[in-house]
């Protein structure tokens, strides 16, 4: 079931581009298979010309359209028949079409995740599995994190989630729920306003990044040479956070969104396949109203 591996990779990598573009989730419900590996190289472009200040849509003539492009390398390996390791590293460039904000470019966050299929249950000819995953990500370099146009928010993140995956023939549906714990980040400057829920009155440079919960529902069909899905993803700030405003550190903002999207995979020849995806933002909080396309190559090793 090589295509299973590929699609898992595709779904995973879409999740990791940017904390501000974090797309549809850490992983899917399909296991890789013992000692099976794959590698994918994906290019993506996400744009917005409106962003949400708290939940209010805003257009900024001094920003124009913000375009974020990324190239991401994703590797996955089946450590056991029920345990997978997935690693990804993106290179990101983001810039605004108007105003004077400079372009930002560089390696963003390295992510790694372990996925464990804890329970696998056969119901007639269908199959239900229960999975757990833990993930960790950290910035690959000390990029600028406190700017509207930035490649990331600079936090180290711990991600824990559980999912139910149901498969009947080529049809599948997966529901997952997770919690993303975001670590504190240091700004380049001393924070000037005291926020009792975030900061100390002797303001320093360290601030909290609000944690989020995440819900993802994904459904589609999967055959050997072909995969197609549609998904819904919702991230909700769990801890108290700020809203975009003058002098408010961007990392302390409460960020959330609801997005829908679709992903396709097609095997070309042998172990080589193509993938493509699209997503759009339904609602958001302190984040750009992104639309996003991506495409790439997947190789089984």
């Amino acid at each position: 079931m090589r295509s299973t591996a590929y699609t898992a990779v595709i779904l995973f990598l879409i999740s990791i581009f940017s904390s501000s573009i974090r797309a549809q989730g850490l992983i899917d419900g399909f296991m890789r298979g013992q000692r099976k590996a794959s590698l994918a190289l994906i290019g993506s472009q996400a744009t917005y010309d409106m962003y949400y200040i708290n939940t209010t849509e805003t257009r900024n003539p001094n920003l124009g359209t913000v375009t974020t492009q990324a190239v991401t390398l994703v590797g996955s390996y089946g450590l056991g028949y029920d345990l997978d390791l997935i690693v990804a590293a993106p290179y990101v460039r983001t810039e605004a079409s108007a105003g004077y904000t400079p372009k930002q470019e560089g390696f963003q966050d390295l992510s790694a995740a372990l996925r464990w299929e804890a329970y696998d249950y056969k119901i007639g000819k269908t199959r239900l599995s229960w999975l757990f995953a833990v993930g960790y990500s950290m910035p690959l370099q000390n990029y600028v994190n406190d700017a509207l146009v930035a490649i990331g928010r600079g936090s180290q993140n711990l991600d824990g989630r559980t999912m139910l995956h149901y498969k009947a023939g080529s049809f599948f549906i997966t529901g997952q729920y997770g919690y993303i714990r975001r670590g504190q980040v240091s700004l380049d400057h001393v924070v000037n306003t005291y926020d009792p829920s975030q900061l100390n009155p002797n303001s320093g440079t360290k601030v909290n990044v609000p944690d989020v919960t995440e819900l993802i529902i994904r459904t589609g069909i999967k055959t050997k040479p072909f995969y197609l899905d549609a998904w819904f993803q919702q991230q909700t700030p769990h801890s108290e956070g700020t809203n975009i405003g003058p002098g408010v550190p961007f990392p302390t903002n409460a960020v959330g969104f609801a997005r829908i999207g679709a992903t396709a995979y097609l095997r070309l020849v042998g172990k080589l396949g193509l993938t493509a995806g699209y997503s759009a933002t339904l609602s958001g909080r302190n984040i750009g109203k992104f639309t996003r396309i991506d495409g790439g190559l997947v190789v089984g090793l």
Partner: protein
């Protein structure tokens, strides 16, 4: 189906991890400023030179009841009662205010500057509404606490604190009423007690003087300020540091001195600082002197320039004639060799700004939503004076010297900026990572503020002179790294600021404090 035990083991590891991740604390724990007994109580400060008061006796304070009087004994008895069984909130208030009255009110002043440093947003018809002092909480909020506004608010705050404390010191040593803890051994104060006489209370003097100034500067914050004032007052009782009559006399003195300081503030020309009609004449004059391209707002829609007439506001440490005499010489002619040299430096940074250049630019940006460079230097001054364990009056003196010097720097710099009306590098294709200031380029405000403050602080704390000079220099070059100033802007600002700061130092040397 898997082996049950395997499932259980891995499951418990995962759930343990998950619980740990969700529940462990994200508290940011930074050291709190704590109370100290000053290394020197500055007994002679009642004779130090004041800014607005003609003499420390301008406001009369009646002689207190003797410590043997029944009235005083009753006050101490009441104090003993108030200072027992404190709640944790009351103890926290004692600790917070124990760090120092002028220290905390300066911090509050900065906090307000930061919260009000919000440029008004444009309306759908492309206009920028002007904040309205009579309706301070409407959008846009009044004031827009930009750098000149913040420099002035903090200058008046520290001058009022200082003048009121000089007068308080005069009466303290005139009446010599000792601290309550020294009259009754059963009273156990929660803060260090020095030899300083306690009538009138220096905390009450600073608190009431500060609140009068801050209410005028931030009229939308009256309830917040009243609450802080009440907490500060109560903290002195909870700590067993002042009896009621110490506080009442301090309140009378602080509010009367601050009222005199506000009389100066109302007539200092600030009300005309945003007079936009003066710009046409300024632009014409700059063109007549040969400037080929004047500054224009690069915001969309174009925003009227920030406080074009602020250069006419009254200064503290020198007069109008001196202000003009100190004005930096002209910047390079656009596109001449000197201009090209510094523009090439910007082009290079624009192409490949290093992470360290970005860090320096961000560290000193002190832009919208911050308490601005004057606030940044007040923070440095307050922390340094706190580390030196200065008395309240010497702390206030330090802040007043820095405050008046940075306000003079603001006035001098704004005068020069609008005199030269020189275009920003953004008019010639540069980006900026620090936000684009909406006023002419030459000379650099950050450089002027920083050099003025560093000059003053270096005179007060000569051991740290090289640190302050390095900070001023980094603040200055941060604007080059941030691409909003040519190096000649920064250099001219540094030189200008040093000269302005020297006037405050001259005053400091002659104020009777023994600097």
């Amino acid at each position: 189906m898997k082996k049950y035990i395997y499932f259980l083991a891995l499951g418990s590891i995962l759930s343990g991890l998950a619980t740990g991740v969700v529940s462990c604390s994200k508290l940011i724990d930074e050291p709190q400023k704590s109370a100290y007994a000053p290394t020197n109580v500055d007994e002679k400060a009642g004779n130090w030179k004041t800014y607005v008061l003609a003499a420390p006796t301008d406001i009369a304070i009646a002689e207190p009841k003797s410590i043997s009087s029944a009235e005083y004994q009753a006050e101490v008895a009441s104090l003993k009662q108030k200072a027992t069984n404190l709640t944790s909130d009351q103890q926290a208030a004692v600790t917070y205010w124990g760090a120092g009255a002028a220290y905390r009110w300066n911090e509050i002043g900065r906090e307000l500057c930061a919260r009000y440093n919000i440029p008004p947003a444009s309306t759908p018809d492309g206009k920028y509404p002007v904040p309205d002092a009579t309706n301070p909480l409407a959008d846009p909020k009044f004031p827009f606490a930009n750098p000149p506004y913040a420099s002035r608010a903090l200058a008046y705050l520290s001058v009022a604190q200082y003048d009121a404390l000089v007068s308080a010191w005069y009466y303290k040593y005139k009446y010599n009423r000792v601290a309550p803890a020294k009259t009754d051994a059963a009273l156990k104060p929660l803060l260090p007690v020095s030899t300083l006489p306690s009538y009138p209370s220096e905390d009450a003097v600073v608190a009431t003087a500060s609140v009068v100034i801050l209410k005028a500067m931030f009229p939308g914050e009256v309830p917040y300020l009243e609450a802080k004032l009440a907490e500060h007052r109560n903290s002195r009782l909870w700590a067993g540091m002042n009896v009621e009559s110490d506080l009442a006399a301090g309140e009378a003195l602080g509010s009367a001195v601050a009222a005199k300081v506000m009389t100066r503030a109302r007539a200092d020309g600030m009300s005309a600082a945003n007079n936009q009609t003066v710009t046409a004449g300024m632009i014409q004059a700059a063109k007549d002197r040969g400037l080929a391209e004047v500054w224009v707002s690069q915001e969309s829609p174009a925003r009227p320039p920030m406080l074009p007439n602020y250069g006419a506001v009254q200064t503290w440490n020198f007069d109008k004639t001196t202000l003009i005499k100190l004005r930096p010489g002209p910047p390079p002619v656009l596109n001449d060799a000197n201009y090209e040299k510094d523009m090439n430096e910007l082009r290079q940074v624009n192409k490949s700004q290093t992470r360290d250049q970005a860090r320096i630019a961000n560290y000193w940006s002190d832009g919208a939503g911050s308490y601005t460079p004057p606030g940044h230097w007040h923070r440095t001054a307050a922390n340094t004076a706190h580390d030196a364990q200065y008395s309240e009056v010497r702390m206030a003196r330090t802040l007043a010297l820095v405050g008046t010097a940075t306000m003079d720097a603001a006035v001098g710099c704004w005068d020069a900026k609008y005199y030269y009306y020189y275009p920003r590098p953004q008019q010639f294709g540069m980006k900026t990572s620090v936000g684009l200031p909406n006023f002419p380029s030459y000379p650099s405000g950050h450089s002027t503020f920083s050099a003025a403050a560093a000059t003053v602080l270096s005179a007060i704390f000569p051991d740290k002179a090289s640190e302050f000079a390095a900070e001023a220099s980094e603040a200055s070059v941060s604007r080059v790294y941030g691409l909003i100033h040519y190096r000649f802007d920064s250099n001219a600002g540094l030189e200008h600021g040093n000269k302005i700061g020297a006037y405050a130092v001259e005053r400091a040397k002659a104020d009777g404090s023994g600097l």
